[in-house]
C-alpha cells in the first residue's frame, strides 16, 4: 500500500516536470563537463620540480601560509608540519591543490579565496605553493625511524602513554589524540614534545584564526565546598572554565564561584628525559606514531 501510494504520488509530478528535468539535465551535463575539465586541469602540478616556481611559491607561502604552518613549512603552533611527506588530508597534487583552494572542512584551514587565506591566491599561485611544499618535503617513514611494533608495546605498556593519549580509538582522553600526529608533525617536533612537553605548551597558539583553542593548559581548582580538582582546560573565557579532570570527568565552573583557580602552562605530561626514555625507545615510540598515521599502520 505504501509503495502504490508512493508511485501515484510520484507519477504526476514526473509528467509535469519533464521539461524542467531535461533542461536541468543539460545544465548538469554542462556542469559535469566544466567540472571534469577543471578537475583535469587541477589533477597535476604544471610546475612540478621547477626550482624557480618553488621560490615564488615560498614567497606566497610566507605571505599566506606561514602564519600557521611556520617559516619553512615546518609547522607552527597551529598548522601541521608540511615538510612531512605523509599528509593527513591527502598526498596527491590534486589533493594538496584542493585543500588549499577549498580549505579543509572541520579544521582551521581556510579556503584560498578572498577573506580566507591571507588576501587570496589565484590557481597559479596555489600551484606555486604546492611546488614549494614539494621542494621542502622530507621523507620520514616509520621503518627508517625505529621499531614501530616495539614502540606500540611501549605506548600501551611500560611508558604508559595510553593512560592519557588515544591512538586509533584506544587510550585516554586527558592529552591530545595522537592517531594522525605522525602525519602532521616532524620527528624533531615529536621528540621535543616527549623530552620537554611544557615547552610546546608555553609557545601557545596563534590567535587571529582562533575560534576554539585547546592548549592542554594545566588547571587546578578548589570548589566552594573545598573539593580540589586538577586537569586540563578544554575551554575558558573571562568568566567561566570548562575542564577535564585527571579522572576524565568533565566540569564547568563560574570562576568567581570558585575558592581558587590556578592555571599554568606547565604540562601535566611528565618530561621524558634520556633516563626515563632512552634514545632507542624514543625512536621506537615515534616510529609507532608515524606508522599509526600511515595507511593502515599502527595496528
Amino acid at each position: 500500500m505504501f509503495a502504490s501510494r508512493r508511485d501515484n504520488f510520484l507519477k504526476l509530478p514526473r509528467e509535469r516536470q519533464k521539461r524542467p528535468v531535461i533542461a536541468a539535465g543539460v545544465i548538469v551535463l554542462a556542469l559535469l563537463c566544466a567540472g571534469g575539465l577543471r578537475m583535469q586541469a587541477q589533477e597535476k602540478n604544471p610546475y612540478a620540480g621547477d626550482a624557480k616556481v618553488a621560490k615564488l611559491g615560498e614567497y606566497q607561502f610566507r605571505s599566506n601560509c606561514a602564519f600557521c604552518h611556520g617559516l619553512g613549512a615546518r609547522g607552527g603552533g597551529r598548522g601541521p608540519d608540511l615538510t612531512r611527506a605523509q599528509k593527513h588530508h591527502g598526498n596527491t597534487d590534486a589533493e594538496l591543490f584542493r585543500n588549499i583552494h577549498d580549505g579543509i572542512a572541520g579544521t582551521a584551514m581556510p579556503a584560498a579565496t578572498n577573506g580566507g587565506i591571507g588576501v587570496g591566491m589565484s590557481d597559479e599561485e596555489i600551484w606555486q605553493v604546492v611546488t614549494y611544499i614539494r621542494s621542502v618535503e622530507k621523507k620520514a617513514t616509520a621503518a627508517e625511524t625505529g621499531d614501530a611494533a616495539h614502540g606500540k608495546e611501549l605506548f600501551y605498556g611500560p611508558v604508559g602513554c595510553w593512560t592519557c593519549h588515544m591512538v586509533n580509538g584506544k587510550g585516554g582522553r586527558l592529552g591530545p589524540e595522537l592517531t594522525s600526529t605522525g602525519a602532521s608533525r616532524s620527528v624533531e617536533y615529536l621528540t621535543d614534545s616527549l623530552r620537554n612537553p611544557s615547552k610546546r605548551l608555553a609557545e601557545g597558539i596563534s590567535e587571529p584564526l582562533k575560534d576554539f583553542s585547546q592548549e592542554y593548559e594545566t588547571v587546578t581548582v578548589v570548589t566552594s565546598d573545598g573539593t580540589k580538582l586538577q586537569g586540563v582546560v578544554l575551554n575558558e573565557d573571562s568568566f567561566t572554565v570548562q575542564m577535564l579532570d585527571t579522572r576524565e570527568q568533565l566540569h564547568a565552573f563560574e570562576k568567581n564561584k570558585l575558592r581558587s583557580y590556578v592555571k599554568t602552562r606547565e604540562s601535566l605530561m611528565p618530561a621524558y628525559d634520556a633516563k626515563a626514555l632512552p634514545e632507542k625507545e624514543l625512536k621506537d615510540l615515534i616510529a609507532f606514531l608515524l606508522a599509526a598515521s600511515e595507511k593502515g599502520g599502527g595496528q
Binding site: R62, G120, D237, R265
Partner: protein
C-alpha cells in the same frame, strides 16, 4: 524638503492621454497627504544636516557611525547605569544569517534601526522589536578584493537616504523607507584591489568615504559625493602626485601603488569646518625597499576642508612604515578648556594627542608594548628604529602586524574625561617575502608570524587620561579582542571579547558589572539608543545584532 524634491525627480512623467485622470489621482493623493500631515508632520522622519550637527540634543538616536561628529562613541543616556547594569537582559536579536565578521555599528533614527552587515547587506528594523522593515543585498562581483573579510562597518544617513560604501568600490544611496537604490556611484576599479569597508560620514550635503586596499598597491583617496545625486564633488589623493608637496617622500614611481588607504570613518569640527581623516599603511605594507622616504600621507592624520577636499595640515604617525601600522583609528576630538585636541590610540602602540587647530604634536605616550621605536624627534614624535625592519630570517617587533589596537572604535567619556581603548599585546616576527606588483594581487612584501614569547597573546580594555597619557585602569581580556568600546552617561563602558562575552564595566574603575555570552566573538563597536523612553545597548556578534535593556 529633500523627500519632496526626490519624489518629484523620481516620478515618471505621466503620459499625455492619462493627464486628466492623473490629475484627479494627484489631487486625491494631495488630499490624503494633507490629511496625514495633520497627524504626522511630513518631515518627522528626516535627518537634516542640522540634526547631525546637533546630535547631542537627541541622545535617543544614534545618527552616525561614532554617535557624534567628535567621534566620542558616548551616549548621553543614563537610564542604564552602574546601579542597575547587573540586571541587563537581552531584548531582541536580528540574524543576518551570514558568515564572516559582523563589524557594523547600526544607526537609530526615531525608532528605526538602520544597519549593514557581511557581504554588503543593509537593513532597516523596527528598533523596538527587531523586526525587519526592508533588507538590501548588494550584488558583489566575483573579482572583488577584500583583504580581510567581506566586511562592512556601517552606514550614514541624511534626509530620506542612507549611504553605504561597498566592497566593489561603489557608494550607494538607498531610500531609507524602502531600501531601494536611489543612486549608485562607482569610485574605483574593484578588480585592482579598491574596496570600501567603512561607514560613510555625512557633512552638510556631502557623503565622505575613504578607500580600502592597502594590501593591493592601490593609490589611496578620500572622496565626497553629492548626497542628492551621487555626483563626485572632490577627491583627495592620500598620496601626492607629481608637483604636489609630499610627492618627494616617495621613491621613483612607488607613489602610484603606494597604498595609504583611508578605511575608517573620520570626524568633523564644525567650529573650524575641518574634517579629520586617518590613513593606512604604505604599500607594500611590510617592505620599505623601493619606496624610500617618509611615504606621505600614509599612516597620517589629515585635516581637510569638507567643501573642497583641500588639505589644511597633516601629521604623520609612522614614517616609512614596514609593520602595517595603519593609523586607521577614529581620530577623537577632545576639548580640554580652550585646548582643542585630536586623541588617537594608534595601532603602532602610542597614544597621540595632537592640537587639532594646527596639527602640532602635544604628546605621544606608549599604551602597549612597543619595540619599533626607541627614540623621538625634536617635536616628540616617535621615529622608527632601523633595527626593527623586517629581514629574510625574521625580526621580532612589537606591536605585531595586527597592532596594539586596530579599527575597533575607542570611546571618550566627557564625564570621566577618560579615553577607553581596546589594547592588544602581541608581538610578531616580520620576515620579508618580495612580491612584484601585479594589479589586483596581494602586495604586502612580507610575512609575519606569531612570536616565540612564553607569554601567549593577551588583550585589555585600557582607560587612558588624554591630559597625561597615563593609564588609569585596565581590565584584562582572556585573549586579544576585536571589539570596540562605548561609554555612557550612566557611568558605564561596554565592550566585548573574542570568547563572545558582551561586558559592562564601571567607567570610573573598570569593575565588571555585567556580562552576557553572545555565542560568538564580538567583532564590532557597541552603540546605544532609546525608544519609548527605554534605553537599549546594541552590539553585533557572530551573525546577530543583539540589543539589551533593563527588565
Amino acid at each position: 524638503m529633500l523627500a519632496g524634491a526626490r519624489g518629484k525627480k523620481n516620478r515618471r512623467p505621466a503620459p499625455l492621454e492619462t493627464t486628466v485622470l492623473g490629475t484627479a489621482k494627484l489631487l486625491g493623493v494631495a488630499a490624503l497627504a494633507a490629511a496625514l500631515s495633520l497627524s504626522a508632520p511630513p518631515a518627522s522622519g528626516q535627518v537634516t544636516a542640522e540634526r547631525l550637527l546637533n546630535s547631542s540634543k537627541e541622545p535617543q538616536n544614534w545618527l552616525m557611525y561614532s554617535g557624534d561628529y567628535a567621534g566620542h562613541r558616548f551616549s548621553a543616556l543614563d537610564q542604564i547605569n552602574a546601579a542597575n547594569a547587573a540586571t541587563l537582559v537581552p531584548k531582541w536579536a536580528y540574524q543576518t544569517m551570514a558568515g564572516g565578521k559582523f563589524e557594523a555599528t547600526p544607526l537609530v533614527v526615531d525608532g528605526i534601526l538602520y544597519g549593514t552587515g557581511q557581504d554588503d547587506r543593509a537593513y532597516a528594523l523596527d528598533a523596538r522589536s527587531g523586526r525587519p522593515i526592508w533588507q538590501y543585498q548588494q550584488t558583489l562581483p566575483a573579482d572583488i578584493r577584500p583583504c580581510c573579510g567581506r566586511v562592512n562597518r556601517g552606514l550614514a544617513i541624511l534626509g530620506d537616504k542612507v549611504f553605504v560604501a561597498t566592497l566593489d568600490a561603489h557608494v550607494i544611496a538607498l531610500d531609507s523607507k524602502t531600501g531601494n537604490v536611489v543612486w549608485d556611484a562607482a569610485a574605483a576599479e574593484h578588480a585592482k584591489g579598491y574596496s570600501f569597508t567603512l561607514a560613510p560620514l555625512v557633512i552638510r550635503n556631502l557623503v565622505l568615504v575613504g578607500i580600502s586596499g592597502g594590501e593591493y598597491g592601490i593609490r589611496g583617496f578620500i572622496d565626497a559625493y553629492d548626497a542628492a545625486t551621487g555626483a563626485r564633488k572632490w577627491r583627495f589623493y592620500t598620496i601626492p602626485g607629481p608637483g604636489e608637496p609630499g610627492h618627494e617622500s616617495w621613491e621613483g614611481d612607488s607613489w602610484r601603488i603606494g597604498g595609504s588607504p583611508a578605511w575608517i570613518t573620520g570626524t568633523y569640527d564644525p567650529a573650524t569646518n575641518t574634517t579629520f581623516w586617518t590613513t593606512g599603511n604604505p604599500s607594500p605594507s611590510n617592505r620599505g625597499e623601493g619606496r624610500a622616504g617618509d611615504n606621505l600621507y600614509s599612516n597620517s592624520l589629515l585635516a581637510l576642508d569638507p567643501d573642497t577636499g583641500k588639505l589644511k595640515w597633516h601629521f604623520q604617525f609612522t614614517q616609512h612604515d614596514e609593520h602595517d601600522y595603519d593609523a586607521t583609528q577614529v581620530p577623537v576630538m577632545i576639548d580640554d578648556g580652550d585646548r582643542k585636541w585630536i586623541a588617537q590610540a594608534n595601532r603602532n602602540g602610542f597614544f597621540y594627542v595632537v592640537d587639532r587647530t594646527n596639527g602640532k604634536l602635544i604628546s605621544a605616550t606608549s599604551y602597549a608594548k612597543v619595540s619599533w621605536s626607541t627614540s623621538k624627534d625634536a617635536t616628540g614624535r616617535p621615529v622608527p628604529d632601523k633595527a626593527g625592519a623586517p629581514t629574510p630570517e625574521g625580526n621580532r617587533v612589537c606591536p605585531g602586524a595586527l597592532g596594539a589596537t586596530n579599527w575597533m572604535s575607542p570611546t571618550y567619556d566627557p564625564q570621566t574625561k577618560l579615553f577607553y581603548v581596546t589594547a592588544r599585546e602581541q608581538c610578531d616576527i616580520f620576515a620579508t617575502a618580495p612580491q612584484p606588483y601585479e594589479a589586483g594581487h596581494a602586495y604586502y612584501g612580507s610575512a609575519y608570524f606569531p612570536n616565540d614569547d612564553t607569554q601567549p597573546f593577551w588583550g585589555a580594555l585600557r582607560a587612558l587620561d588624554p591630559a597625561t597619557g597615563k593609564l588609569k585602569w585596565e581590565w584584562k581580556h582572556a585573549s586579544p579582542t576585536w571589539a570596540g568600546v562605548l561609554s555612557t552617561a550612566g557611568g558605564l563602558v561596554f565592550t566585548g571579547d573574542a570568547e563572545g562575552n558582551f561586558i559592562a564595566l564601571e567607567a570610573a574603575s573598570g569593575k565588571v558589572l555585567w556580562h552576557f555570552q553572545c555565542g560568538a566573538s564580538v567583532f564590532s563597536s557597541p552603540m546605544s539608543f532609546a525608544i519609548d523612553g527605554k534605553q537599549y545597548v546594541a552590539v553585533a556578534a557572530g551573525s546577530a545584532l543583539f540589543t539589551f535593556g533593563l527588565p
